[in-house]
Amino acid sequence: MRVVLAEDSVLLREGLTWVLGSAGMEVVAAVGDAEELLRAVGEHQPDLVVTDVRMPPSHRDEGLRAALVLRRQRPGLPIVVLSQYVEERYASQLLSTETTGVGYLLKDRVADVAEFVEALRRVAAGGTALDPEVVAQLLLRRRSDPLDQLTRREHEVLALIAEGRSNGAIAEALVVSEGAVGKHINNIFAKLGLSGADDKDHRRVLAVLRFLKV
């Protein structure tokens, strides 16, 4: 898998290159600012882009802006945005383009190397990877609506779906059987009024969208 990496801290850039390399990914370009990122993506046509939010020259949200530009220019290009802080606003902006092939993770997640790499692979494969903190924020925020009808377990399941996990991964995370997860998901669809839809994956995305209100 060919990756373009954008991170202004040299230390972290080297570290991430090493982590991705050791996970069998090929970092074709590691750049330090948003303009270089746009150029590198045009040049290398990567399978995945990993970018920091804050980057030179103004050290504001250049990385996020660049990600939005890339999403517009190349729909479907998988992008993972790393941020020092989880901000709902950044997440909604990112998710407002398309919810497939998008990741928004706290930078700290890099520390859990295996999980981090797994999240990158998920996004590269067209999935989503939302930081549990974003999900938790959104979950708290949206408590007073139809989602109220969901049980605590169903909430957990929906949160994990929103993070981009598969049924298998959800079952593993909650220590239940995959069949139980399927049942929970059907209940969620029913409560959110999504039972009529025939395509399963589509309903998953709709449920997440309803959940995130984006």
């Binding site: 972290l12 570290g15 504001r60 949200d61 901000e87 520390a111 408590r143």
Partner: protein, 407 residues
């Protein structure tokens, strides 16, 4: 001090300078008095022409500071008395904008009073000095004549005594008149206490605003430094420990435990640092303004928060930081004490006022005297001349309203 020194001091340089001060006071006073009287007389006599009084008044206001400067230099040169200068009024090409404030300023009329008083006072002083010095000379002459020409020694003694008296009194007269002149000069030509206070308030306001802006800039600088340096290093450290934990599986168990522990600790440190840094000044506030930063706060609160932000024009960074702090503190307080089930935040900017309101349905009874949280809030709001109102009857609900000025 010996008697000889005392005597020398009595008729010394200071005395002559004082005498000179009175004499020049008469001259400058006559000049300024004449100009003022002439201008006033011209404007009164020719009031029907309109143009003449206006020009005369303008001339008067224009010459006043010149006379004042002249008088001030007279005090400095002769008596080493420094009269603090009046605050300068900037000249405006628009005559009304310049004349009206001049006419309304108390200092204008005080200066005028001095320039009219000066010739009278120094005139009297000059006469008195002339009498004493002239009298001394005359008495010497008369007593010499009395002893010399007609042998009437008692008359000569009398003249001599009066002469000595006048000679002794002359320096005292000079001293007395300059003393009065200094009092009048200081009172009428220097800045009035109210002017001085107003000026000081202005300076203090400016320096306070600078201090607050500096503190805010410092907060942002610390946030940036931590973000660009410490946080990145910690992430790198945690990442390396994570890598070690994942790959060094063949190490002895104690070593693996140490690595695992260090990994967990580094992640905890990252989390704590993140919370700390966000409290200082969230990056999203700089990037996207209050709306985004407050929705982040609202999302993090452990209860549902309804947020409505109507701010079309962004306030200054300092004001935004205060507003963010207010909401952050209010939500923390609600979470800690209020037992509320929900809260509402509204932020509205109308003109140069930013109004914030945080309402909760908790148990109320919040008072600034009881907690440091609310007091800190009041202080931070007060630091930018904002207003804070807390309405929190026992049993609730609680409303915190804040109004912040923004240019």
């Amino acid at each position: 001090m010996t008697i000889w020194q005392r005597i020398r001091a009595h008729w010394g340089t200071a005395t002559w300078l004082r005498t000179l001060h009175v004499a020049t006071g008469l001259l400058t006073g006559l000049l300024s008095g004449a100009v003022i009287v002439a201008l006033v007389a011209a404007s009164v006599l020719l009031v029907w022409t309109v143009a003449v009084p206006v020009i005369a008044v303008a001339l008067l206001f224009w010459t006043l500071p010149l006379f004042t400067a002249l008088q001030r230099s007279r005090f400095t040169a002769h008596l080493n008395v420094h009269i603090p200068p009046l605050p300068r009024r900037d000249f405006s090409p628009h005559p009304l904008k310049w004349l009206v404030p001049q006419a309304r300023a108390l200092s204008t009329w005080r200066q005028l009073a001095y320039h009219l008083l000066c010739p009278l006072l120094n005139g009297l002083g000059s006469v008195a000095l002339l009498v004493t010095w002239g009298g001394t000379l005359a008495m010497i002459f008369l007593s010499v004549r009395a002893f010399d020409i007609s042998p009437r020694p008692w008359l000569g003694m009398l003249f001599a005594l009066i002469g000595v008296g006048l000679f002794l009194a002359a320096p005292l007269v000079a001293r007395a008149f300059t003393w009065v002149d200094v009092i009048a000069g200081k009172a009428l030509l220097g800045p009035a206490l109210s002017d001085e206070l107003a000026q000081r308030v202005e300076t203090l306001q400016e320096s306070r605003a600078e201090v607050i802006d500096a503190a805010d800039a410092e907060r942002r600088r610390i946030e940036r430094d931590l973000h660009d340096g410490t946080q990145q290093r910690l992430v790198w450290l945690a990442m390396n420990l994570g890598m070690a934990r994942a790959t060094l599986t063949d190490l002895p168990e104690p070593a693996r435990q140490v690595i695992a522990q260090a990994h967990e600790e580094s992640k905890q440190a990252l989390k704590e640092l993140r919370d700390l840094v966000r409290g200082l000044h969230p990056a999203v506030l700089t990037d996207e303004g209050l709306d985004a930063a407050l929705s982040g706060l609202a999302a993090r609160a452990p209860f549902p928060v309804r947020l409505s932000v109507d701010v079309r024009q962004r306030a200054s960074a300092t004001i935004e930081a205060v507003a963010f702090f207010v909401v952050s503190e209010a939500l923390t307080n609600i979470a800690k004490h209020a037992e509320a089930t929900e809260a509402t935040i509204t932020v509205v900017r109308r003109g140069d006022r930013l109004r914030l309101a945080v309402r909760d349905d908790g148990r109320g009874g919040a008072a600034p005297e009881r907690g440091t949280g609310l007091r800190g809030l009041a202080q931070r709001v007060g630091s930018v001349d904002g207003e804070l109102r807390i309405d929190s009857p026992s049993g609730g609900p609680t409303t915190i309203e804040v109004e912040l000025p923004c240019e």
